[in-house]
Point group: C2
Chain length 343, copies 2
């Protein structure tokens, strides 16, 4: 809690995303099929459908989630100075979300909504193969608008990190475009994660434009990057993204990640994990490790290794936020004592 | 979910207790001291104090809890026909509590309160030695009254299971006394768990009277039973309880349990656990296994072994409810296929 930035100084990363509480449940594959969900993807649903799916789930566990929020919590665990922007309501799950972020050392100043839909929830169905299928009710998070993003906060963050899921909401899209403009005119970097293959399908044209003109660092997994360029192989997508974006970090589950930046190409191994329990948050935490390296000015290969360390930690337990200090896990790679650099 | 009793037939156990959602957090020992809490015990606090302690905790996980509710969920996992009585509010944590019980196969019919305090919470602070210290805000659960207990439900349950924590609330005490009367006049058994040494301190005189006159099966751990009789050794407490109660099941952590019933005495070993992660719910789940054996008419030694199996399962992970089917874990002891007996 001592890591919360209160001095108005430089921040490493500010994340903007859908603020969600995850409702985690272990289920058989049949349940996913019966509920009409697609394995390994995120389906956006309304409150009624969310209630129906929830009623079909077994006993569950509630933990704070949200893709960009998981990344930001991961960065805090590395010792980075971070802030988060996302909307909750003034209800119990909203308090849980805010508590968990702040307790992790994240600055979170958005005032909870006093009316409108409840705090958003993501039903995370973990099947026996540790794969997760998500069913998201955005609730209050859907109403993120330009007024929620503090320009001064964005201007003093080295990186503004955006999640693709935000493109599903017109108001949020406006907030994002405005944040990206502020960041770039302050000489900062903008990072984007494509979030989900269906999300890419819905917004391909806009995402291509963003990557072309506004995004400096792109995160995507194999399915997402192939979907973005509508190509059949990973290598074809790699050739396309290579000169399209300043830096692209492409994750391939147990096959590791590939990082490209102009002529530089790195192929980084995944960290072996004794027992993969829940893959939720793997991509979010990879991004946390990568951005931690990037904001410390480390080589792209080291950034990829830090991503692999963070992803390995989060898939070895239930839930999408680290349970072990990532600063400690990363100490052998970073060298010297864990924690933030002097600045 | 197919196990919910809807046919008005015989139930194995109905549990009555404080309906709470647990907020679990791993913390260093210093935090417990700094918050003025006593390690290994439950402290009852008001909403303000609960908020202050919560603010001092790191990121947490929310799971349904409540001592008797954990026992009932454990019984459902064995395949028993069970119901639960306890009060929540019509808020998000109340929905979580109700969902998790019903999804486990428990009948839960109490209408949530539409006004008054929020659903109760138990802050469970797990220290590095896997010990848990609890800080409980009863909220809506404190207002359990005689009107919430369905006499017909109690009359058709083989055992009515009560938690000692209920004695802290005058209204609840009335509900309990009434339920015990109904159970006994229907020829059923009444079981009581002493819950907590401080709770025993607060209500020693009443508990002694209950054990003498109304309780058929008593559950207590070593500290609680010594506190009840104000004696210094376990053996002294054992001699006292032996002819005081029809059946007493006394748990001693890794030293196993001792079961006494008139001239019958059994000393049952604890199940070895590779890695004890969180002792929350150990006593609750021991009671679940024991009562499952008892309601199936099994010997008291087998009841104790079933208790040990259930307790070992729950201390090997975070949270106080089983994550693995207890029916399957108990199959080698019960013989034959797991599941409920024909009746």
């Amino acid at each position: 809690m001592s890591d919360v930035d209160t001095d108005g100084g430089l921040l490493d990363v500010v994340g903007i995303g859908n603020a969600l509480v995850d409702v985690l449940s272990h289920e058989a594959d049949e349940l996913v099929v019966r509920q009409g969900l697609t394995r390994g993807t995120a389906t956006m649903v309304d409150a009624d459908r969310a209630d129906r799916v929830y009623a079909a789930l077994g006993p569950a566990v509630e933990v704070s989630g949200g893709s960009a929020a998981n990344t930001i919590a991961g960065l805090a665990s590395f010792g980075a100075r971070v802030a988060y922007v996302g909307r909750v309501r003034d209800d119990q799950l909203g308090s849980v979300f805010a508590h968990d972020l702040r307790a992790a050392g994240v600055r979170f100043d958005v005032t909870p909504a006093s009316e409108g839909p409840a705090t958003g929830r993501c039903l995370v169905i973990v099947t026996p193969d540790a794969q997760r299928t998500m069913c998201t009710y955005l609730g209050a998070s859907a109403h993120l608008g330009p007024g929620d993003v503090d320009d001064a906060l964005v201007a003093r963050a080295q990186v503004t990190y955006l999640e693709g899921y935000l493109w599903d909401q017109p108001e949020a899209k406006e907030a994002i475009r405005s944040a990206a403009r502020v960041a770039r005119s302050a000489g900062r970097r903008v990072a984007l994660t494509l979030s989900d293959p269906f999300c890419v399908d819905r917004h391909r044209h806009e995402f291509l434009g963003l990557v072309e003109g506004e995004v400096d660092v792109l995160f995507a997994n194999e399915v997402e990057i192939r979907s973005l360029y509508e190509v059949d192989t990973f290598d074809a997508a790699l050739q396309r993204v290579r000169h399209h974006c300043e830096i692209a970090a492409l994750t391939r589950s147990e096959h590791g990640s590939v990082i490209v930046a102009d002529d530089e190409v790195h192929v980084v191994d995944a960290r072996p994990v004794a027992h993969v329990l829940d893959t939720t948050g793997a991509g979010d935490l990879y991004a946390a490790g990568f951005l931690h390296g990037l904001t410390r000015g480390l080589g792209l290969d080291v950034c990829g290794r830090l991503g692999a360390i963070a992803a390995a930690e989060v898939i070895s337990h239930l839930g999408a936020r680290p349970e072990t200090s990532l600063a400690e896990l990363a100490a052998p790679v970073l060298g010297g004592a864990p924690g933030r650099p002097a600045s």
